[in-house]
């Protein structure tokens, strides 16, 4: 039993992250300071939230490529609303960002859940449409910090009991996702769908509704993160978070969420996101050019999936070896 623990993917990943942190700390002790960890968690918060939502989608054998575009669109819309009505408090703006995200996600969900269209194709299409809509709404212009209220910009980095709001939101998302995946019927049904959609249907899982919900949740999370992203970096423009959907999916994959559906844990997904967060935050500290970031991330993903591969062997293996038959002459 004692050694079994180390065979778990989450434990391996956690050990790897700790080793990585120590290694970086050995080269640059400043990385081990409380302030450095604070910024690490703050920087990773948005990724963690998106990864958790994406995990729910991937559990059902789906994929949501539109999250980054959805995020950018919602961010732009709240920035525009905030500019038009500066009096609106963020307690109105944040729910409206989430609402818009929810709506956009539901469109994906309806097409995937009720029309049974392939998720990768639907979200590929909506990804382009959402991205283009940002341009239409903003006219291609940037919304800079001068056009946002102080309250709008301050919220993500304000502190509560010493932690930034971003970190608290991420913690809340982790708790929620953990509860959802482990203790609710809804969560268990997502695993069932991913393991075998046909069987899940036969035992009475409402497939269409569940699929609609996961894409709606993914959209809602993207909406929230859209506001957070725009407020955090105090700028909104058409290309924000371009290509971020693949980072989110990569974090899921590193965290052991199987793209074939039905396998994945909240802890793993969070660790996957943190792993990428550590790498991104460590590079400037150990004075590696930020241009290395993409290459290193790529290597990490490839290595992670190769290590993970032994558990996902394809069916239909050839059992008997091929032997050359000598022809009788």
């Amino acid at each position: 039993m004692k050694l079994e623990v180390f065979k778990q993917r989450e434990v391996q990943l956690a050990i790897l992250i700790v080793l990585l942190v120590m290694l970086i700390g050995a080269r640059a002790p400043v990385f081990l300071s409380a302030r450095s960890f604070d910024s690490l968690f703050t920087d990773s918060a948005i990724l963690v939230m998106l990864v958790l939502a994406q995990m729910l989608v991937i559990l059902t054998r789906g994929i949501d490529l539109s999250v980054a575009s959805n995020l950018a669109l919602c961010g732009m819309v709240v920035a525009l609303i905030g500019r038009k009505f500066p009096a609106l408090p963020i307690s109105v703006l944040i729910p409206s960002a989430m609402g818009i995200g929810l709506l956009l996600g539901s469109i994906n969900g309806a097409l995937i859940g009720y029309l049974r269209l392939p998720p990768i194709v639907v979200t590929l299409g909506s990804m382009s449409v959402f991205r283009g809509m940002i341009f239409v709404l903003s006219g291609g212009a940037w919304i800079s910090s001068r056009e946002m209220t102080q309250q709008f910009i301050d919220f993500p980095l304000q502190r509560l009991f010493g932690l930034t709001h971003l970190v608290w939101l991420a913690l809340a998302a982790i708790a929620l996702a953990g509860w959802l995946a482990r203790y609710t019927r809804f969560g268990r049904e997502l695993y069932a769908i991913g393991n075998n959609p046909v069987a899940a249907r036969y035992v009475g899982v409402p497939l269409s509704r569940r699929l609609l919900s996961v894409y709606a949740i993914s959209g809602m999370t993207a909406g929230l993160c859209g506001y957070l992203w725009v407020a955090r970096y105090a700028v909104a423009f058409t290309e924000i978070a371009y290509g971020f959907e693949l980072t989110v999916i990569a974090a899921c994959v590193i965290g052991g969420v199987s793209i074939a559906g039905g396998v994945g844990s909240v802890l793993g997904a969070v660790l996957g996101a943190l792993f990428l967060g550590v790498i991104n935050n460590a590079l400037p500290i150990v004075q590696v050019s930020p241009f290395w970031q993409s290459a290193i991330t790529g290597c990490v993903i490839v290595v992670a999936v190769v290590i993970n591969a032994r558990s996902e062997k394809r069916a239909g293996k050839q059992i008997l070896p091929l032997t050359r038959v000598e022809k009788a002459t």
Binding site: L117, S126, F291, V305, A315
Partner: protein, 332 residues
């Protein structure tokens, strides 16, 4: 003829019916293409100008070269997200070699060769470790693009030899772009491979049921590997042409093209679930998208709006058949 002498035979294909032909995806697509073409030529005064039309093919020729092998991959239930990354690496390798004074023909070979090597790595990872190709290629996309960034930083390779530009932006007979001719030649080659050889038939077999295909003696893994190598090689070729056309290499070269190539393939009627689709459909999709983009460009619509149109077109084409009835399988 007495009734006892009647022998039954199972035909290898259904009886010819016009309705069946008209309901084919390719015919539908041809209709859309003609519609787009007519619409554009009526609304836009310069649309039918032959020189404009010929030049408009520059916009999609390289992407279409990616779409052809991508179609084969998707028919086999695989996908390659890293193609644009491969193009970046291939272009960077060419730029680097160019700085060392390597002549143009060798540069082109380096581009194609690096592409093939990247494709081989993808293929080996997918086949040796049995990892889903979408996962592998998301990783290698980041890796390949990252290598380009590491080498280039915020710099760019320029000053490519004249001969490269000749293939990237040159014409045959001062009229037909060379890239377009290359595209047509490869389309013919791929169509022949997929539709007229036993290799092509086996690709469909793999896409329909990889396990059954393996049990029927198709070396599935070898086919998969070769397809990834082919994909990489074509991405290398596309990189050679693109580098020649724009005459420079930046780290963000061909950014996002993987999704455009995949869009072309799916719009062309290749099922993402594998096992069906034709090269003709893909070519029609390429032309349709090309004509839409060209028309919008003439009408001064900004490029980003085109992404809405293309995305909407993709959603519409997959949604419409489901909404307009047809057989809805209620199995699940």
């Amino acid at each position: 003829m007495s009734s006892t002498a009647v022998r039954h035979q199972i035909a290898d294909r259904g009886r010819f019916s016009l309705g069946e032909v008209l309901r084919r995806w390719e015919v539908l697509l041809l209709g859309v293409l003609l519609l787009v073409f007519t619409f554009n030529s009526l609304l836009l005064p310069n649309f039918l100008d032959p020189y404009n039309l010929a030049d408009s093919t520059f916009n999609f020729s390289e992407k279409a070269l990616l779409a052809l092998p991508m179609a084969l991959l998707i028919i086999c239930r695989e996908i390659d997200i890293s193609v644009a990354g491969i193009m970046a690496v291939a272009s960077v390798a060419m730029g680097f070699a160019n700085q060392q004074g390597v002549p143009a023909p060798l540069l082109a070979m380096i581009g194609v060769g690096v592409g093939a090597a990247c494709g081989t790595l993808n293929g080996l990872l997918v086949t040796r470790f049995a990892i889903p190709s979408i996962v592998v290629t998301i990783g290698t996309m980041s890796l390949y693009r990252g290598i380009a960034m590491v080498v280039l930083g915020d710099q760019a390779f320029t000053h490519y030899p004249e001969a490269l530009a000749l293939w990237g932006q040159g014409y045959f007979f001062d009229f037909i772009p060379r890239e377009f001719v290359i595209l047509l030649a490869f389309t013919a080659l791929f169509a022949l491979l997929l539709h007229a050889t036993s290799y092509g038939r086996r690709l469909y077999a793999i896409g329909n049921n990889p396990v059954a295909a393996r049990f029927s003696g198709v070396p599935v893994e070898r086919y998969r590997l070769l397809l990834f190598v082919l994909m990489g090689t074509m991405a290398g070729l596309a990189a050679v042409l693109l580098t020649g056309r724009i005459g420079s290499t930046r780290p963000n070269i061909a950014l996002g093209w993987e999704l455009e190539a995949i869009t072309m393939v799916i719009l062309g009627g290749v099922s993402i679930a594998g096992g069906s689709g034709t090269i003709g459909g893909v070519l029609l999709a390429v032309f349709t998208l090309g004509m839409v983009t060209y028309g919008l460009g003439l009408a001064n619509v900004p490029g980003i709006i085109m992404t809405i149109v293309i995305g909407a077109l993709l959603l519409l084409t997959i949604t419409a058949p489901k909404l307009l009835g047809g057989r809805r399988d209620r199995r699940d």
